[in-house]
């Protein structure tokens, strides 16, 4: 199945081939968010927020065809 992975801020360095940090990847049916994070080579420790279709989700959230997976690093400055 195909899912869209959207990398934010510093995580975009894991996808330098695309300027906007948006990747379309083919992954096995039943893949979880954490599986996709590994498949695109992002260090899971740097991912603090996982959004599936715009909703906060746990890393073990199962994905479906066409899902949008947003990955966010921690933003803590003031």
């Amino acid at each position: 199945m195909r899912v869209e992975v959207r990398l934010y801020a510093t995580l975009r360095r894991y996808a330098l081939s695309v300027a906007d940090g948006v990747l379309n990847v083919d992954v096995p049916e039943g893949s979880k968010a954490s599986d996709v994070i590994a498949s695109v080579g992002v260090n899971a420790d740097e991912v603090h927020i996982v959004m599936v279709n715009g909703v906060s989700s746990p890393p073990d959230q199962a994905l479906a065809e066409g899902d949008r997976l947003g990955l966010f690093p921690p933003v803590g400055g003031g």
Partner: protein
């Protein structure tokens, strides 16, 4: 000038000149609610300085300003209250002085101490809204736990580089643990904090405070407004 004078005018349906440009948006009742409100701003740096400036001009009646730090040269690029004259001055004390220059109707309580578990309840009790303008993740998580325990809405923001996030945490909703694993600092250690990013996030926070206090509009409760101005991204995310 005591805020009682403005409240007396507003009670009679008259508009104090200093709030005239507010009234078309929030009305006389809204202005009264702001003047009668008590807000704690935790942190008076990049976010806090702008929030305090805006809430003082908007006419929030009581501001408790909490920050144990003093201004340093490295703050000058973005912190509204950091000037060459305020170097070495405590941030909370400096903020209270700025509020007195802008709007002497606003009562302030400058607390020149770091927010921590020991002083949290005393500093936050009896507030109508708490504003998270801190700069470490561990402190933000503590502030959120305390705000939810005390059943007081918390307006959160954090920034780094071109990126920022703003959301309102309600006592019964999801907390900041949805946004952070346990850690002390975020990507600001790499990207730094440029001039405009905290001002942008702080303006949205101040508007959230106005909405919470007046009951107007839709707040960012259970949501996170995430922006990345490098790519013109503004996304409203659902915290569940």
């Amino acid at each position: 000038m005591a805020r009682g004078n403005s409240l007396t005018l507003l009670d009679k349906g008259e508009i104090p000149e200093r709030y005239r440009r507010n009234i078309g948006t929030i009305g006389i009742d809204g202005q009264k609610r702001l003047l009668e409100a008590r807000v704690a701003v935790v942190g008076a740096g990049g976010l806090g300085g702008t929030i305090i400036e805006l809430l003082a001009r908007q006419g929030v009646g009581f501001l408790r300003i909490i920050d144990g730090d003093s201004f340093e040269l490295v703050n000058l690029n973005r912190q509204l209250l950091a000037t060459e004259r305020t170097m070495g001055v405590n941030k909370a004390v400096s903020a209270a002085a700025r509020v007195a220059e802008i709007n002497s109707e606003v009562e302030t309580d400058a607390v020149p101490a770091m927010f921590n578990e020991d002083n949290a309840t005393e500093l936050l009790s009896e507030m109508n809204v708490i504003v998270d303008a801190l700069d470490t993740i561990n402190c933000r998580l503590l502030l959120c736990r305390m705000a939810q325990k005390l059943k007081i809405p918390l307006v959160h923001a954090a920034i780094a580089g071109f990126t920022g996030q703003v959301g309102t945490i309600l006592p019964t909703g999801p907390g900041l643990e949805k946004l952070y694993k346990t850690t002390s600092k975020g990507i600001e250690t790499v990207l730094g904090n440029p001039a405009a990013t905290p001002a942008l996030a702080a303006a949205i926070q101040a508007q959230e405070v106005v909405k919470l206090l007046t009951g107007m509009g839709e707040t960012l409760s259970h949501k996170l407004l995430y922006f990345d101005t490098e790519l013109n991204i503004y996304e409203l995310l659902n915290l569940g």
